[in-house]
Structure formats: C-alpha cells, structure tokens
C-alpha cells in the first residue's frame, strides 16, 4: 500500500483527482480553481505602487495563496519524502529527439543540463529559467489564466475564451518546441 505513495501514478488515476479540485474548491468556498492569480496577488501585496491592476485588496486572494502553500508542501511530500527513485518512463522518440538537442541527464523530473544553479550562469540557463519564467508570468496574466485556470477550470465550464487560450498555449508551445528550442539548446 505504502508503495503506491512512492510509485508514479498513471494518467487515468491522476487526471480524475486533478479534476476533483474543481468541485472541491467550489464546495469549500465558492472558489474557481486557478493558480496563476497568485502572481498578481503577490505583486499587489508587495508593490502595488500606482499600477491600477494591483490596487485591490490582495487579501481577497488569501485562500489561493494558502492553496499555493499547499502545492509547495505537496511537492515536498511527493517529490522529496515519497520520491520515486526510478527515472521517468518517457517515450523513446521523445528521449531521442531530446538527445539530439544535447540533453544528457534523464534521471529526474527535469534535466540537470538545464536546471541547476551552475547552468544559470550560462546563456542557455538564463533563457530557459529566467526568460521561460517571465513568459509564463506575463503570458498567463495577459491570457487571464494558466493551465489550471483555462485548460482545466475554463474548459470544464465550457468557456469559449478558455478554448481560445488553450489554442494559444499550443501555438506558442509548438513554435517553441519545433523552431526556437533547437536554436536555444
């Protein structure tokens, strides 16, 4: 039984549990599931300055910041305490195309070739970590949601807006995967 906590979970188990988050938060407090608003709450709490977009009571988002704290703890439990010692069972074609791009480390959740403090000193590290994060933060607020807010919550509520956003996610994602990533790596 305890083995289940260490093993990776198949998609058909994980998907429904993630989906349950939607009714769970609605029932707990009439809240729409979404994570990226927290970046805005952090801006509003730390430095609203005279930017209108950040002049609201960030405490209205306190529930979401608490949820986010839970995500960090869940990450600690799932990725540290009950860490799976085996490498991810990736499809062979992904492994070979990433090897062609120069990725060598396939042992963890992320390649050490890109995700370490040492790599951050290189142009590749700065692009992946700093620019990548910046695009996620800028893009998600511009689009009004991220994977949880649009792809999961929004699509679950049959929102056309979210479908357009998800199409956008794939336009950007495919452009990065097939055109830009081979140049960057």
């Amino acid at each position: 039984m305890i083995d289940l906590l260490y093993q990776p979970w198949p998609w058909y188990v994980a998907g429904p549990i993630i989906g349950i988050m939607i009714p769970l938060l609605l029932i707990v407090g009439n809240k729409a599931f979404g994570i990226s608003s927290n970046f805005r709450h952090i801006c509003a709490a730390c430095a609203p300055a005279n930017v209108k977009f950040f002049q609201y009571d960030w405490k209205s988002g306190l529930w979401n910041l608490v949820l986010l704290l839970g995500v960090v703890i869940g990450g600690f439990l799932g990725g540290w305490v009950f860490a799976n010692p085996e490498p991810i069972d990736l499809s062979e074609s992904t492994v070979s195309s990433l090897q062609e791009l120069g990725i060598q480390d396939f042992t963890g959740f992320v390649p050490a070739d890109l995700f370490s403090w040492e790599v951050l000193a290189s142009p590749t590290g700065i692009i992946v970590l700093a620019i990548g994060g910046f695009l996620v933060g800028f893009g998600t607020r511009y689009a009004g949601g991220c994977t949880s807010g649009h792809a999961i919550s929004g699509l679950s509520n049959l929102q056309l807006a979210s479908l357009i956003a998800v199409i956008g996610f794939f336009i950007g994602g495919l452009l990065m995967t097939y055109v830009l990533l081979p140049i960057i790596l």
Binding site: M21, V28, G29, G75, T94, T140, G144, F169
Partner: protein, 141 residues
C-alpha cells in the same frame, strides 16, 4: 480567514501538489513529450480532469448546489469577445511553458521538492505579471 478555511485550502493544495508530482506533470520531459505528441500521458491527464470538471459543474449547476457555508455556487463566465488577449497572451504563455517545461503550479511543486533553482522562474514570472500590469492599458485585449 478562519482556521477551518485555512486547513481546507491548505489540504486541497497539498493533494494537488502531490498529484502533480506523482503524475509527473511537473516534469520538463513530460511537457516536451506532450508538445511532440509522443505519448497520451499529458493529454489523458488534462482530458480526464476536464471530463470530471464538466460533469461536476453540470451537476452543480443543475441541482443548484450550495457551498459549505450555504451560499449558492456561482461560476463567473469569461468574456470570449476579448479573443486577442487569449490568443496573444496564451501564445506567450505557451512559449514559456514549452521552454521552462513548467506552468505555475508545477513551478511551486518543484520548489517544494527541493529544486531550489525554481525560485528563479518564480521571481521572473512575478516580474512578468508585474510588467503586464504596467502595460495592460496599452496591450490589445
């Protein structure tokens, strides 16, 4: 915030973060695999999450369910006429998602798992959100 609310939101977050790790959604590799259409993994997860979401929201709407405090549950609609923001903002998000291999929740779950370097994209994501706030009135929506 009441202590009971705090515990419920915290627990929900813990479950979500834990599933993100166990399902490897947090993995840069899984995101690369998704955008290469090499495996069903990510599509299966998002697809089933949406399926459960659609069914639960339909039940909630049709039964007029109430939340824990007895308030009728209401879900705000998003305005589809602002298609430019969804398309442009979404595309910028997609560029970042495929590059960093992590969307917002996984950034924080990975940080919790001990990958301290994730603090860098978290800070730049906050800066990106800040810049959006500054430029907002000048961007097409």
């Amino acid at each position: 915030m009441k202590f009971s609310d705090f515990i419920l939101y915290l627990l929900s977050g813990i479950i979500f973060g834990f599933v993100l790790m166990k399902s490897e959604v947090v993995s840069w590799f899984r995101i690369q695999e998704m955008f290469r259409f090499d495996d069903i993994h990510m599509y299966g997860i998002i697809g089933l999450a949406v399926l459960v979401g659609v069914i639960s929201i339909q039940i909630i709407k049709r039964t007029g369910a109430k939340d824990r405090t007895g308030t009728p549950i209401s879900i705000e609609d998003k305005d589809p006429t602002q298609y430019k923001r969804y398309l442009i903002g979404g595309s910028l998000f997609g560029l970042g998602w495929a590059l960093l291999g992590a969307c917002p929740a996984p950034m924080f779950a990975l940080l919790g798992s001990g990958l301290t370097v994730m603090i860098v994209p978290i800070i730049t994501a906050i800066l990106g959100t800040y810049l959006y706030g500054v430029l907002r009135d000048r961007l097409p929506h």
